[in-house]
Symmetry: D2
Subunit: 362 residues, 4 copies
Amino acid sequence: MEPKAVNPEMIVALASGLAATRRRRIREKLESVGATVSLVEGSERHYFELRGEIAALQTLSIDSWPGVAKVMVLGESAMHWAPDKAKDCAPIQVGTHTVGVGELTIIAGPCAIEEQERALRIAERVGATGADLFRGGAYKPRTSPYAFQGLGADALPILEQVRRQTGLGIITEVLDARDVERVSQVADMLQVGSRNMHNYSLLKELGQASTPVLLKRGFASTIDEWLMAAEYILSGGNSMVVLCERGIRCGAASRKVVLDLGAISEVKQRTHLPVFIDPSHGSGEAYRVPSLARAAVAAGADGLLIEVHDQPWEALSDGRQALTPEQFDQLVPELRSIRTALGEKKTEYSEHVVESSSGEER
Amino acid sequence: MEPKAVNPEMIVALASGLAATRRRRIREKLESVGATVSLVEGSERHYFELRGEIAALQTLSIDSWPGVAKVMVLGESAMHWAPDKAKDCAPIQVGTHTVGVGELTIIAGPCAIEEQERALRIAERVGATGADLFRGGAYKPRTSPYAFQGLGADALPILEQVRRQTGLGIITEVLDARDVERVSQVADMLQVGSRNMHNYSLLKELGQASTPVLLKRGFASTIDEWLMAAEYILSGGNSMVVLCERGIRCGAASRKVVLDLGAISEVKQRTHLPVFIDPSHGSGEAYRVPSLARAAVAAGADGLLIEVHDQPWEALSDGRQALTPEQFDQLVPELRSIRTALGEKKTEYSEHVVESSSGEER
Amino acid sequence: MEPKAVNPEMIVALASGLAATRRRRIREKLESVGATVSLVEGSERHYFELRGEIAALQTLSIDSWPGVAKVMVLGESAMHWAPDKAKDCAPIQVGTHTVGVGELTIIAGPCAIEEQERALRIAERVGATGADLFRGGAYKPRTSPYAFQGLGADALPILEQVRRQTGLGIITEVLDARDVERVSQVADMLQVGSRNMHNYSLLKELGQASTPVLLKRGFASTIDEWLMAAEYILSGGNSMVVLCERGIRCGAASRKVVLDLGAISEVKQRTHLPVFIDPSHGSGEAYRVPSLARAAVAAGADGLLIEVHDQPWEALSDGRQALTPEQFDQLVPELRSIRTALGEKKTEYSEHVVESSSGEER
Amino acid sequence: MEPKAVNPEMIVALASGLAATRRRRIREKLESVGATVSLVEGSERHYFELRGEIAALQTLSIDSWPGVAKVMVLGESAMHWAPDKAKDCAPIQVGTHTVGVGELTIIAGPCAIEEQERALRIAERVGATGADLFRGGAYKPRTSPYAFQGLGADALPILEQVRRQTGLGIITEVLDARDVERVSQVADMLQVGSRNMHNYSLLKELGQASTPVLLKRGFASTIDEWLMAAEYILSGGNSMVVLCERGIRCGAASRKVVLDLGAISEVKQRTHLPVFIDPSHGSGEAYRVPSLARAAVAAGADGLLIEVHDQPWEALSDGRQALTPEQFDQLVPELRSIRTALGEKKTEYSEHVVESSSGEER
């Protein structure tokens, strides 16, 4: 199936004084790759207005063609995540819980599934506190090949048991296109981790799946790249995509990453997708998690992914950033109270569209 | 006046099998620069424990000395901003307003003072909405020498007039050590901008001043560097320092900077200084400001610095990120309601100091 | 097969004044995960020296355990790429060409295989100029799902034809663990692209392969992470790994990435692996490529990966950074002449191990 | 004196379907700030072509005005550093040495002046090896107020003595606008350090000086910002500016900064200014310096700034990155031999201006 994007617009400034024969040749090339081209005559130089598959056109580096001075894209490309495509997407059902823009979904659980008893104990505890979904890693991507890589397939029956016993929907990471089907049988939502956001083979496979996907932002990826990664899944036919920011790497950061909460308002303006925040990876240390979790809710996040472990200092991975169940118990009511405080009066702020001083409207 | 730091601790791992004569020579060098040295005998290598002026010792690159394997600092250096030095600092009085940890100070006003009438109009408007202090730039650091550089000294009488007419305390930026005295006569608080955080001549001058200082974090500076910049002022004798995070530059950021709200909990744990947030520079666009302002309050910020302009699209600088007075009117009650929601139940989360499974306490 | 690392060393500083019972508990936990522990008594605090699987120990966040003040690793972990493991690795044969430390391997060709005739034309041209290997992408990872994704499997017979006709060994990228076997039948060397450096499923699969691997550094990955990615392949049994730096993302970079030529000397000191440089991705624009290619050779690179296209402005991807064959013809003799100039007199500079002023040796 | 830039070009895309009255208002605003405006009619939207003080226009955030869709600048602004302004700049005389594009100036010396005897000893040694100028810091900007801050004014007579005794021209850093005159009496070239690149008060003062300036790039500044900082000096009337790249901060860098050698070809294409490289700060460790110094020369640098200390492990600052005189002796001939190897055949590579397939020329 060929993914298709429609209807954006591009303006190409030609070199000033470009010969007409040269201009025709550029026009032919543009038309040969499918663009609709119209000439605009300026005072010293001419321009081409293009319509068509702009995302594809952009990859041609038109601005490096002889005779082209510069190129500008006007308006957002019409991707599946564009606000006006919201109607194509049903609300996202994850187990018995509905994820949606304007809701506050709380996902909690340990970084990795270590053993069944512990997993059940944590799940029951966070469920009692009000977590909506349970998270727990079966397959763990680790920087070192010698680090604990997760229980792998052995963790899947444990996750199944957690769901059966607690009723909580399950979210777990999938690392390999070959595992998508198997993991989907257990998971209510599949997580693409930060290190795999650019793994397009995996994204294409998930585009064929019928399980919701939580797509984490790459730890050094721009919002544009993140949205294009979502487009890989959406354009493949799977419309159930939730975005999740988890911190981006930064030269001046004190713990390698900085949680980009500014992404929330930007993604909400540019797309119709829900945006979640992972304050655990975004903090790196447990004592910083509650502050950022509260901030995420106040900023308008639709959900949070919080690591909770009953003995963080014995965790096989990421213990440093896991909350204890007691800390999680304290935090959840704070998050709900912020939500409530903002609830009725939350205002939509748009880009400057304001009365001018003369009272003339835009 | 010589600034002095006291009492931290460093451990120096020596090369394994290092000869005793060599070890003595290293000890002598360490003692010659003022360290108190004690030998610790390991199984394969030996160590030196050091006490003294660790910040100074750190600059000696001891770990590059022949015979030294590695160096580790234990505990935070005892700087003037350390939590246990809180008693040395009185609450910070800015005009008639008291800035403090646990309060929410709202500073608002235009990026730059453009003309008196406009400045007064904006000041009265933000004061009516509940701003505690007025901000407005007289001297503007601009990337281009051809951009509007602020009115300079001509803006100072305008600021004075704003204070007289509205009663709001004034905060304005100082760029040059030579202007500190002059600007202090008008300003209730002096701002060090992001581009000057490493301007140590200016910081030393401010250490001699008796006006409070708002020290913005450098746009690519670590928290350690930021705190050391504060130490330049504090160690000079001026104890009235407020820190302000305004976004750090990042390869993956969509608008050059990412607002590092995680700095709030970290700075609060490591220091006794108030932490403010500048969501305007941290956003880059007005529509992203309210979301980050709310987040900052929820994360525990002690104050906000918000750009407000009555005609953002006519501003001579930074108009793109300025709120209109109407937007500011909507925002302030939201911020106060978050503060209230958290007020009573705000919990202090500390580093993992938790009951172990065996009930043994730490 | 369980990968194993051996023999490094770690020092754990305990909290000062820690109770003996607590200390024993920490010791037990360390021993339970396989560490050999010995106690070192300091003047105010005690330390544990650890030996064992340090890479695994590091993932336990020991420094977040109650009672632990800080942790320091001494010496490099004993990975398969460590200099003293060089003997385990034969020189790397790629087709008829031998890649090695101290040689200068030049790899050239288009970003993507677009059609057979063009591929052959470019291959013959770069072969005549002195390229040692031919590069050309069959599978292309693209940010947008609507961009040209490469010919995929259809490009493989073309690559085979290039080798048959020109005798040049072939290097091409593999994106998906499921393609490793198929691509290996055609390729003399498999490339892991920057976006897949953290794709551990793929790396594990390549560890089982018997084809040499060129491992590009992730566009925002540290050298430590890059070497650990190499360790995934090496520890799996495939000893034929070449590292390739291609630019890292940076907030202040003018074209998103900065080519990190400083990685060359660092990698050479820490490992026995060959280091290649990709000045094309590291430049982003063709006019910047020759300067960085020359720099790479002068810095000591063992090979270069250069994009060459006969009509860059018609390339379906990355045309902006491709050299023309004419430019490549000019460049290659320059590179060889730098190599020659340095050849005999190239000095190994080590870390400071120098005579001290008193003539005492280290 | 008002700095003036002339003659670039900007295109403003208006909102599609914008009312004529609105369009007129935008035109009036543009004309009121000095732009020459001409209307271009497109098929669905209209455009304004602007001429005038584009650098100033850019600061107005025109693209945030109601009714404006987007803005694009065509061509480089006509700054004093633009290639066609080369004729306005005489070659730069530093003491008896002439700095110039196409030459290789080697500057060497310690990070900081520590005492006269040592300064003289190092200066004589590096002079004998072939250094063209001597560097040594009097005023040192240090992250910690407790670190060695340089000897300050006490170092100036020592620098004077070095020049008298060795004949080498002197370059030293100036941190404070108030010191420019005093330091100029001793120095043949004034250095602006990385932390002061955005200190516009200092830059303006240097614009009034008649001493050459070496302007280091900010450690997180873009090339555009760096060139604008140069413009502050040039537009003030001081045409003797040399740029110096010294590494930029980066999340994935192994030693905080990455030396951006790609800046050389870019700066050379966009400006007529000499570009120097500081491989010492760009390396962070001495063993990495020679590789990057060689790379810099091969990349086309016009000069190098190398830290040399006779006892690096006793240096009061930056000892870790200083070469010993012996290492410097080895390095200089290597650098000269690379220069010679490239000398005659060094080619100018321009942006793609190539024969098209039909033989038509651009």
